[in-house]
Symmetry: C2
Subunit: 516 residues, 2 copies
């Protein structure tokens, strides 16, 4: 047993006569005196497994109930029902699960974790050769998180039939009580592979793009599925629970179900994996107590600060349209625009997720099927990642001109008497949507890591000169960054206070001042 | 006397003892039996003038009152107090004043007029050499309308003191009763020069960027000024009245004054020049009965159709930020973005106005002072203008997917019971500003000239394939246009119905299908 690595006990017993999904060995693990109740799962052929994730090194013992209740009868289990092991200290490349750390993320050992995600929805529903190719691509790509689905995808450019599904069929209907072992083993193998590559799996549990019936499960079926999934997968260190892709488009699911799912996962996941829910139209309510971070489909990547204030949680723009050239407006932004959205979100201390939708004859679009990357944004995302990882900490938004202005607050003043100030009255009189556009346009994109680093991003503004207001009593070196050309130029050294400098007058320019 | 050309009668008399601005000869012109009452103005040195603009050819006679009332006494006038002239038919290059034609514009002789404007606020407040240079630049530029101010500009990059102002000083205060003749003569000379170049002068009557007191005139002073201005300038064919630049930032003017100004100009301008008012924050109320068209400062150039429906008037985006590289977000958009905003507005049957703010050592920025153009958008605007002028008529918006959807209407449904349709309910539940962003992103930008021409603009969408739905019974040739490279490529000939074609997968692509 080793800290931050899944530990597994194999048991044997009679096969369940009823639900193979519901049959759950009961275990208690005691690590350094701290108890955790853990439930196992059935893997077929009379084999049951119990998995444990040790968050610290030390001494670990366990005790597994010698029998489990299934369909009103008892199944006796054989194997290492009790034991004690030394849990070794984690290796240097292993940092533990990713947790929320204020408005940011960190691994259990305290290492900063900044998600630079990508999206391959139907990653595991392609033939093995293609999935292997996707993993080869990932090995050379800048991504440390990937969004992918348990259930296969039916949509434009996604018409292939997967070789296997999460469940077997009973009659002509997929039966959540009969997990398809080949599927789950392959899923686990891929999650393990991601872990070796340092990539978090942001696992999407439901989604609407379906022709097989997975978007029409009953509440009870959903719970059976989630119970099996969480018992089977929760000991993987590199998983996040994404309740859905576009939860709000799932017409057959009542809204309250999502809260049930979140609570159920929270109560049944012994390790507290990150959890959120992804929207098409209305955002998921990130105030939900079991939701750990904001997972947003939207393009307003400049609003990180506002969202952080509203929800008090890390802000991940998990879908900001995809770099590509398909006919849908969500899948044809330029590589520059994708790189820009990453810079905007990350400079402000938020996070962004990539996806790619380039037409090709084989209809293998990265966003759903993986394969190879064709786009020009990944190189820029790698460049950004390197710069962000050099920072001494996570950046926090620095209110600039309009930076701390809340359009909603201004808009409320429309009902109040005029102040006589043309600007204040003018802003208050604007339609809210116009007010947002105005303030978004005027907003200065700035952040800082304490007094160590100050960052500014000019986005679509083509400035010929720049300005930073640095502490008077400290000295900084200022670097100008071209996010597209991927150049870094030191423009000032040993400066303090209000500093001005020339800029190249084009889109995609960032400036970083580092304390000497 | 010639149709569409200013006709002027010079009179002499004693100089006014009181207000030189208020002294107004009274005349009646009868052109082809139709009477127009026209008032003249004082030009100094005992000279008065009466000007008339003949909208048609024919026979014109006039009668001027032999004396005018001024400061409680009578001033006798000498000169051609009566007369008759043949009004010759206009020359082929002369099309008459620009009028509203439905949601578009046309000259009096029926010629289409599509404004392709630019902005040089303090055009006439620079030294002669610079103004001459500006006119040389205009001669080679694609602009047929220019926004410029009567009063000088005080602002960043605008600190020079003009040689003369619209009025002389009495004591240390500019006195609206004492027009500065050198100023008005120079203004007229420049308006005439613009007319020769086929350029409409969109004359800005007030603005807030002032250190001389012109933004703090009293209501009475404003009226004296406007009365003089309209009597003096209304016979120029190529003028539009723009009540202000950023009327809403003029803190010393009450809101009702603007309605007074509009009504006053309407009542005192015998020829009905186009009239509008330009905002910074809240739009002017384009429902105002004396306002002929929408003059908008905003960036939502894709909303031409919505604004046309709301106001029933032509939509001119007279300020959409400026191509340039200054520090202000309104003055540092890229040349591509400026070209894009022109294409977006014009394809939809609206209009756009250019401005340029490139830093240079002399601090001569085109937007305020003129000089030479440094940017790359004017060549693209010329290319667009050529294409738009080739069209058989003014394009009208073609509702596409979301094209006829009004976010405000959808938003109202938030209070109503759910329909059970996830899309309808989801959209209705969105905050209005999000709804606008969503629909703006999804909106298809399409227009048509009857069944003759169909236009589509993909804007920031990088599509690898395109589609048009053309009438089944007619045949079209389809051309793909790269707005930045300024290339036109025929991609399909003789096609009908639903047509698909490859596109280059980059920003700034338009498609035009012309009936064979």
């Amino acid at each position: 047993m080793r800290q931050y690595e899944m530990f597994e006990i194999r048991l044997t017993g009679e096969a369940p006569r009823g639900s193979e999904a519901a049959a759950a060995p009961e275990a208690v693990f005691t690590l350094n005196g701290k108890e955790k109740r853990v439930r196992g799962f059935y893997v077929g052929e009379g084999v049951y497994k119990v998995r444990f994730y040790p968050g610290e090194a030390g001494v670990c013992s366990w005790k597994i109930a010698p029998a489990l209740q299934e369909g009103g009868r008892e199944i006796s289990l054989s194997g290492a029902l009790e034991g004690t092991e030394t849990c070794e200290t984690a290796g240097s490349s292993s940092h533990g699960m990713v947790r929320v750390n204020g408005l940011h993320f960190a691994c259990e050992d305290g290492t900063r974790y900044q998600p630079f995600g990508t999206t391959v929805y139907a990653l595991i529903h392609q033939d093995r050769k293609l999935v292997d190719q996707t993993f080869e691509t990932l090995a050379g790509a800048p991504f440390n998180k990937i969004r992918f689905c348990v259930f296969p995808k039916h949509y434009d450019y996604n018409h292939n039939e997967p070789a296997y599904f999460a469940f077997e069929k009973t009659g002509d209907r997929f039966d959540v009580n009969r997990p398809c072992q080949v599927f789950w083993e392959e899923l686990e193998r891929r999650i393990g592979q991601l872990d070796e590559m340092g990539i978090q799996g942001d696992l999407i549990l439901f989604h609407p793009y379906d022709r097989w019936g997975f978007a029409q499960l009953t509440h009870e079926e959903c719970m059976t599925y989630l119970s099996y999934l969480v018992r089977r997968l929760a000991a993987f260190p590199n998983l996040w629970w994404s309740l859905a892709n576009e939860y709000d488009l799932m017409a057959h699911f009542e809204r309250g179900w999502w809260n049930d799912f979140a609570r159920f996962l929270h109560e049944n996941d012994p390790y507290g994996h990150l959890l959120s829910n992804h929207n098409c139209l209305p955002y998921w309510d990130f105030h939900d107590p079991y939701t750990t971070h904001c997972c947003i489909q939207d393009t307003c990547v400049n609003r990180v600060g506002r969202l952080q204030r509203e929800y008090g949680k890390p802000v991940v723009f998990d879908e900001v349209c995809y770099e590509g050239n398909i006919e849908h407006s969500w899948g044809n932004i330029s590589a520059f625009e994708m790189a820009h959205r990453f810079w905007m979100a990350h400079i402000l201390g938020g996070y962004c997720t990539h996806g790619e939708t380039y037409l090709n004859e084989e209809e293998i679009l990265w966003w759903a099927k993986g394969g190879v990357l064709h786009g020009e944004s990944p190189a820029r995302i790698a460049f950004l990642r390197k710069i962000m990882e050099e920072l001494p900490g996570d950046p926090d938004v620095l209110p600039g001109r309009w930076g701390s202005v809340d359009p909603e607050e201004i808009h409320k003043r429309a009902q109040e008497p005029k102040t006589g100030d043309v600007w204040a009255d003018g802003l208050a009189s604007l339609p809210l949507e116009r007010l947002y556009r105005f303030i978004d346009k005027e907003g200065t994109v700035q952040s800082h890591c304490g007094q160590e680093v100050y960052l500014r991003y000019y986005g679509h503004q083509c400035c010929g000169k720049g300005m930073l207001e640095l502490p008077e009593e400290l000295e900084y070196d200022v670097e100008v960054i071209d996010i597209w050309e991927m150049t870094r130029t030191v423009i000032r050294t040993g400066v303090s206070g209000k500093v001005t400098f020339p800029l190249p007058g084009k889109e995609g320019i960032a400036v970083i001042a580092r304390r000497r």
